[in-house]
Subunit: 376 residues, 2 copies
């Protein structure tokens, strides 16, 4: 029902709240990742849960990515429909309905999926057998995150051996994603935590080799660990997603001690309008919980120095303006950097791609967030 935005519209006339991409910044991030991985054994398997857009996935693949990860089968369906041909489903799939869909999808693209449980491997094998297909699997190893996954080393290899013994599934290696380490503050602190994860990955790979299991695919890592994923030389696939947009959380957690994140730059913003100016130190904008996620903290106001955002309910943001700052007028626009790109993008139906700067630029393109809401 939203009014269509005309290409060529000046950026500050785009109806708000609007999820903006600074296309130049995003393209530099795309190119930077391709450059950092050029000539390395580590290939990008971009995580599509971030952008939820087959169009952006294809841009990543055009620059060297081997494919994408999806968290959900329904997300993968959108990717395949949009021309993506190689997908790792990076979450365990155990429901009969979803297993049937996964198997069906494997007729149309190269699909791998993770398992962390003998029973899960059996369910997958049975579904693949029924569908008459062969599915590639990775053993999901818990290398520190404490979410899903088999413990590293021998237990992981045991699951691998069992999976390899089943019909219609083909063991290709491991997934080892350390999600907690991605967010440790400070360069050295994170390096140390992630070093432990690398040790667990190595231990697991040794056990796999000892058991004669494939370690061809070693998928993991992310935007918060990419430097050590390159240096560590244990993974074959890097599951980075956020590097494309660099949210406020990823921009901040490097701390002041080291240049963890100066390779990538913020390219994703939410444009809002000031709808109320009730006090000299406070304005209210038209973006709250339903436009800007808060699971990783408040979004950051990138235009009014010293001003601070806090949510004022579902559809309002309260911006406290510093004493020294200028208070914007009613109807003016204000730009925020999301605290968490993945969950903010999932609130929006479209990206508004802007060329020529976020103040003076113009709308170049509207891209659907095609897999928004695909939680199954």
């Amino acid at each position: 029902m939203s009014e269509t935005q005309l290409v060529g519209t000046p950026v500050r006339e785009i109806d708000t709240p609007a999820l903006l991409i600074d296309l130049g910044a995003m393209e530099r991030n795309l190119a930077c990742m391709a450059e950092r991985l050029a000539g390395k054994d580590l290939k990008l398997r971009a995580h599509a849960k971030t952008h939820k857009s087959p169009l952006l996935a294809r841009k990543q693949i055009a620059l060297g990515a081997v494919g994408v990860c999806c968290q959900k089968v329904s997300e993968a369906e959108v990717m395949v429909a949009g021309g993506v041909e190689d997908i790792l489903i990076s979450s365990e799939v155990v429901s009969p309905a979803k297993l049937r869909r996964l198997v069906a999808l494997s007729h149309h693209a190269n699909i791998m999926v993770v398992v962390d449980d003998p029973r899960g491997a059996e369910l997958l094998s049975e579904a693949a057998n029924e569908g008459g297909v062969e599915i590639g699997v990775l053993v999901d190893v818990d290398v520190g995150q404490g979410r899903c996954g088999v413990p590293p080393g021998v237990p992981a290899a045991e699951v691998g051996k069992f999976a390899e013994s089943l019909p219609n599934i083909h063991l290709l290696g491991i997934q080892a994603y350390e999600g907690k380490a991605q967010h440790v503050e400070g360069f050295e602190a994170r390096k140390s935590v992630y070093g432990d994860a690398i040790g667990r990955i190595q231990e697991t790979l040794e056990e796999f080799s000892r058991a004669g299991l494939s370690t061809e695919v070693r998928s993991g890592g992310g935007t918060g660990s990419w430097r050590w994923d390159v240096e560590g030389a244990v993974l074959s696939e890097l599951q980075a997603g956020s590097y494309l947009f660099m949210d406020a959380h990823y921009c901040s957690v490097g701390g002041e001690s080291g240049p963890v994140y100066d390779d990538f730059e913020p390219s994703l913003f939410v444009l809002t309008t000031v709808v109320s100016t009730p006090a000299s130190d406070r304005v209210v904008v038209d973006g709250g919980h339903k436009s800007l996620s808060s699971d990783s903290g408040w979004p950051v106001c990138v235009e009014l120095e010293g001003s601070v955002y806090s949510a004022g309910g579902d559809e309002h943001g309260i911006v406290t303006v510093s004493a020294s700052g200028l208070r914007p007028d009613l109807g003016e626009t204000l730009l925020f950097q999301p605290s968490h790109c993945d969950t903010t993008i999932n609130l929006h139906d479209n990206y508004y791609g802007v060329r020529g700067g976020l103040k003076e630029g113009f709308l170049e393109t509207v891209w659907p967030v095609a897999a928004r809401g695909m939680v199954r």
Copy 2:
């Protein structure tokens, strides 16, 4: 892309994550509110930002509601398209594009909107004049929330006088919503805070009367204050929305000291599946930030006594199982009560209405969350 769910499917076979309505509980909430307001001067103007469903709005209207509130013009457009004929837009609208849409919408339904600024009133007047319509307005009064709104008393009446002087807008009264008080913990503490708000409303109404301004419409209150909105007898319209579903936050903030919320019962849940059982005290379900909002805390596991949910990223929930509790098996379903119904509903495309209980019942109906994502 999600698989269609067949009516008649046993509740625990509905594909997950799924936003479930316990239809019996919801219908009791609908009836209870109608009963509580029967014969009172206070009429329900249900807040549609909660359910985002014209179908549910029409059920509320059939039981006596005068219409609905919407936070956004785009939300109102969906309500009008779905047969709702009386809408208060409870947020300030100042952008030219949205004002044009609001004016256009007023050809098809009775639309009121709030103003809290003389310039905002002028913009609305100009748009209504251009569109050749007359729009009803309420002065939005800040009676304690500290978000939008004019200070109570004389300042509010001044804005009212100014608005009344403008062409094509027609002052009908005030909006006075105290959002903070809705969430004060404990019966007596909340009653006291809300009592202050009622005092500010009365003061404002006196100033309006003194200035000869209409006080025909006095809209405000909510699920967290409805008892005092009934007793206070200052409002003419109650903007309750959450009463329909009663999220974990609204169920808990009454505290142990008083029965603030025993009139309404929880009717909204998210069904998930256990996709990993990695440790004896922990399972992982397939619902994270993208299925269950966390802006008002974690959702509550309603089935495993003593177990605690925490988000494990975008698509996973980590459930810590108490030592005494049974750990569910891989593939079993687990039910959660959302912490905040509005923001959780906005993550889903459909409601799954269940009849006959949440364990043994069956899918009776699938209803679209028609205004999901309508943030403009």
